[in-house]
Symmetry: C2
Subunit: 319 residues, 2 copies
């Protein structure tokens, strides 16, 4: 009989939960808008995970919740989730475990995504995986020797805050030229805003109209033939490639995997990224593969499930 | 009775060998200039390690040789050592093992230095160590979960070739703005050369005279009150700090350790490095320690010895 776990992916806008078996099959999905308050989030998580768990013929062995931001996996606490209001130092695993009566784990979403790709996705068969999530922000995770690597304080993989261009734009973190400030949903939206304010792109201005500029607008303008918009996206891809190439030289993974909404831009972003990464890769690091996720919309849930299975494996090894 | 190994540190100019016990005590040192030819290097290595081994009352359990450049530790081969002429695809462990009749291991010098700091030096008590060697070039090594991390193809830790400033000077590797092109013995010598050619520093020109400019000249000029020379060194320190801070965010080590000749510059280099690293460290990564080596001149030998002891541990665990 296959083992099952319950998994939840807590995002800034959506909360998703499902039952996942150890081959990565996903059942009994639930999805709700993320409530505005931290206490409501914990309540809804318990409810959804409970519903999902009861849909299983066999009792789930564990649950795992992934969250954006800084997570203390050992303490079971979300230290800081900038995209969820008031979500700071929230103890998440204890109340959920009391409701479900099974072990509950918590993990940073990008770290979990790395383990998800390793176990179920584009990173299968690799031993060392570097994963990057390219969305509104930039996250990352590391699988080393086949296990999720968390670092000294659970922070490992924060690739959004490596400096790629010291003369680049200011990041939300306060530094200048972080990867996230150069290529991300927010970075591209900011570029689009500036281009409209400077009057450098009529095409972009027309596409955006009276709405708030987004990375999609920038991409649409590029597709409509606006060279400046295309140059911004290509430059972002180049900066992404410099960051990935640098990390490939430091970490020498078997594979680099990518996921996230920004991948919808496709080759206009990934072409320059691939080129810059390989031009930088040193010696044998040139053999590093670069692949996009095969898990699509389930990447978050399968990441959470992969963490639950790994944690269960640790417990059974200890016995 | 203490276990002993024989260790050799093969550098671009000097070849050093010694007996090392498992507490890091160093005995029976030998030192010779590195011969100009690869075959002579292998011969001298066998001779010196043999002499050192015979100085021990108990038979050494293993030998380890560290070399600069790309090393295939599993194959026992130096793939490429740019600072030793004709040293390319040299099989090193087999001939030495035949001479000594004990297991012989080989490792990249900076990777070995990381394990040396972890086992005997500034990184003792840590679980995850990032080590940087600041010399003529820039090297690095990673200890993860208390073990040397080599990556998929033994390349892990090549921090000299991460991009810190895409608008920076061209590196020997062909890329632009690598850490090694911004702060290293070679980078500072190149800056000094350019400053003299541009006539921007009279003080520096006088200090250098008719010799070839070096990083030491740049430091001397700075100490003599030349602001431009001091600014170059401080900027190099700042770039080093950006690189270390970026790596701290990705790797979240317990400690960052530093070794190498460039440390002789002291606070003029390390002050700005420390400041930039901590201003960048994200959330809990601000707790990462930054320490300089406690192993001094023996760092290379103790790194090699640490690798030999780790390899012996792997063998005994497998039995």
């Amino acid at each position: 009989m296959k083992r099952v776990v319950v998994a939840a992916d807590l995002g800034g806008t959506r909360l998703r939960a499902a039952l996942v078996d150890d081959e990565g099959n996903v059942f009994a999905r639930r999805e709700r808008p993320t409530p505005p308050k931290g206490t409501e989030v914990v309540e809804l998580l318990s409810t959804l995970l409970g519903q999902v768990a009861s849909a299983s013929a066999t009792a789930p062995a564990a649950a795992c919740v992934t969250a954006p931001g800084l997570v203390d996996a050992d303490a079971g606490t979300v230290l800081l989730a900038p995209n969820i209001e008031g979500f700071r130092n929230v103890h998440l695993t204890r109340p959920v475990a009391e409701a479900l009566r099974i072990p509950v784990y918590i993990e940073n979403d990008a770290s979990a995504a790395a383990l998800g790709e390793f176990r179920f996705g584009a990173g299968r068969g690799a031993r060392h995986v570097l994963h990057a999530t390219l969305g509104t922000g930039i996250g990352g995770g590391l699988v080393i020797n086949g296990r999720l690597y968390r670092g000294a304080r659970g922070l490992a993989g924060e690739i959004g805050h490596i400096i790629v261009d010291p003369a680049g734009p200011r990041c939300n973190c306060g530094s200048r030229g972080c990867l996230e400030a150069l290529v991300s949903g927010v970075a591209f939206a900011n570029r689009a805003k500036r281009m409209i304010n400077n009057g450098t792109s009529v095409v972009l201005r027309e596409i955006v109209g009276y709405t708030e500029p987004t990375s999609q607008h920038l991409h649409q303008a590029a597709l409509a033939g606006d060279r400046q918009s295309e140059a911004e996206i290509r430059n972002g891809g180049h900066m992404l490639g410099l960051a990935l190439g640098s990390l490939v030289n430091v970490l020498n993974p078997d594979i680099v995997t990518l996921s996230g909404g920004l991948l919808q831009i496709g080759d206009m972003l990934l072409g320059p990224a691939r080129e810059a990464m390989y031009s930088l890769a040193y010696g044998p690091a040139a053999a590093t593969e670069l692949k996009i996720t095969t898990l699509d919309d389930d990447a978050g849930l399968l990441g959470a499930a992969a963490v639950a299975f790994e944690r269960l494996g640790e417990v059974s090894r200890r016995d």
